[in-house]
Structure formats: structure tokens, C-alpha cells
Symmetry: C2
Subunit: 156 residues, 2 copies
């Protein structure tokens, strides 16, 4: 039946056999799909590649052959390899961004550690210069004991 | 001359013409290179693809066709598309690592800001609870003026 022919058999102007190797993967409603793989690999090579594989892997194979053929038509010099190069470049950029960000974190960590050390040193210097009574007085007032305006301290 | 034939003409068992389209890109010392592209695309398709391009782009084209054919032989189901999927996955992993690291930086920044605010508040609370004289005395001693053991302060 003419209307039941797959895209490959339509393209090749032949009768579509009952166990046509192309039929399940090249439906008549997408003639461009077969035209692409035919232009790059040739019908005979596509048929051979599909026949060599077990049936459950053929749909995926037809899809990837179509993708590669489309790439080669769009970019006759680089084809899929052009996409691979571009992705490698993207990975290099992402990895260098990641390394930069990790270096920033390392800087943050070192600044934070330094600030902590300086803070401890500053606190200990300040308290070293206060008399014990001054520290106690300040401490007591911070807890609400005694009012600075009425209290009297005498240090000797 | 038989020994001067390119890998393609040797493979196809034919005389190598003087302007052979394969000759510059398929040297006789690498017969596997032509065998690969022949197996996947067929000699006629490779020749057509090379002829359609200007001579300065043909070497690159032969290289990428060889790479794609080799990939298809190694992985008959996915070919180069398998590499592309793998690279896409690597990019997703690198991007998610980058996002995680950038989030870590944001957390660091927010902790640092919070710590700064708390430090300023703590300092201002401590000084609020010290009398002006205590601050001055501590300040003077830190510059080496007056000795705590001999000095007398009286606060009213």
C-alpha cells in the first residue's frame, strides 16, 4: 500500500516490505529525518548499522544517527565534533570559575581566622590595661548593680 | 605507481589518480583511518563531502569525519552523541558544584556581616558600662602613662 510506506521507502521510491528495517524508525510524517541520514551515510549504510544491532537498541541508534547527520549538514566541516569542542571549552570555563570561587573561599577562611586572632589579642590587651576593680565595676553595672552617678570608688 | 597509492585507493583496489580527493587526507601509512570512514559513511559519501568544501577546509573535515566514524564503531548505538551526553552531564555537575560553592560564599558573607554587627554592639555595651574616667585611665596606661599601683582615682 503506497500510503503505508515509511519515509525511507518513499524517499527510495520502493515498496515498503513487511519487515522493513527503516519503517519503525523513519515514519512517513517526518521525511526530513530519513533525507538527513541518507545524505550523510547513505541508505545502505544506515540499514546495515541498524541490522547489526539487537531490535531494542535500534530506535536509539536511529536517533543518534539522525542527530549526527543533522549536525554534519549544519556544520559540514566540524559536525558533532564542533559541539564536543564547544562543550569541552564550556567545561574548562566552568572548572576555572569553580577554582576561582574555591580560592575566594580559602581567602575568606584565612581572613576570618586572622580577624579572630586579632580580636582575641585586642580583648586581652584592653583587659590588661584595666584594673581588676574597673573590670568588676563595669561588669556589675552591666548587670544592673550600682549606679555610676551615686557610687563611690577609691583605688589606692 | 602502486606504492604511491593513498590509503583510500589501496583499500578500494584502484589506481590513485593524480588529483585524488582522498590522497592528501588519507595517507598510505594509516590504512585504518580510511577503513573507519569507509565503514560508516562509504567512500562515495566521504568523497562527495570533501569535494563540496573548499580545499583549505578539507583536512579538518577528514579529521572530524574520522573521529565521528571511530566513535560510531566504538559505540554503535550512541557514537559521538554519547560523548556529547557525557559532557553535558559533566557540565551539569560542574555548574551544580559552582552554585554550591557560591552559596557557601554567600553564607560566609552573611556570617561575617552578623559578626561585625555583634562586635560593634558588644563594644558599645562595654564602653556604656565604663565611667569616662575608667576609659581614660585604661587608655593612658595602654600608652604607658601612670602606674596602676601608685595612681589614685576618686569618683563621685
Amino acid at each position: 500500500m503506497i500510503s503505508g510506506r515509511c519515509a525511507a521507502c518513499k524517499y527510495l521510491r520502493r515498496r515498503c516490505p513487511s519487515h522493513c528495517i527503516f519503517s519503525p524508525y523513519f515514519p512517513p510524517n517526518d521525511p526530513q529525518r530519513f533525507a538527513c541520514v541518507h545524505r550523510i551515510y547513505g541508505a545502505s549504510n544506515v540499514g546495515k548499522m541498524l541490522l547489526k544491532l539487537p531490535p531494542h537498541l535500534r530506535a536509539q541508534t536511529a536517533d543518534t544517527l539522525y542527530m549526527e547527520a543533522k549536525c554534519r549538514i549544519q556544520d559540514p566541516v566540524y559536525g558533532c565534533v564542533g559541539i564536543i569542542s564547544h562543550l569541552h571549552q564550556q567545561i574548562r570555563i566552568a572548572e576555572s570559575q569553580l577554582a576561582k570561587t574555591q580560592a575566594e573561599i580559602a581567602v575568606f577562611n584565612s581572613i576570618a581566622r586572622e580577624a579572630q586572632v586579632q580580636e582575641i589579642e585586642a580583648d586581652s590587651n584592653f583587659f590588661k590595661n584595666l584594673l581588676p576593680e574597673e573590670i568588676t565595676a563595669a561588669g556589675l553595672r552591666s548587670y544592673g548593680y550600682g549606679s555610676p552617678s551615686t557610687q563611690t570608688f577609691k583605688f589606692n
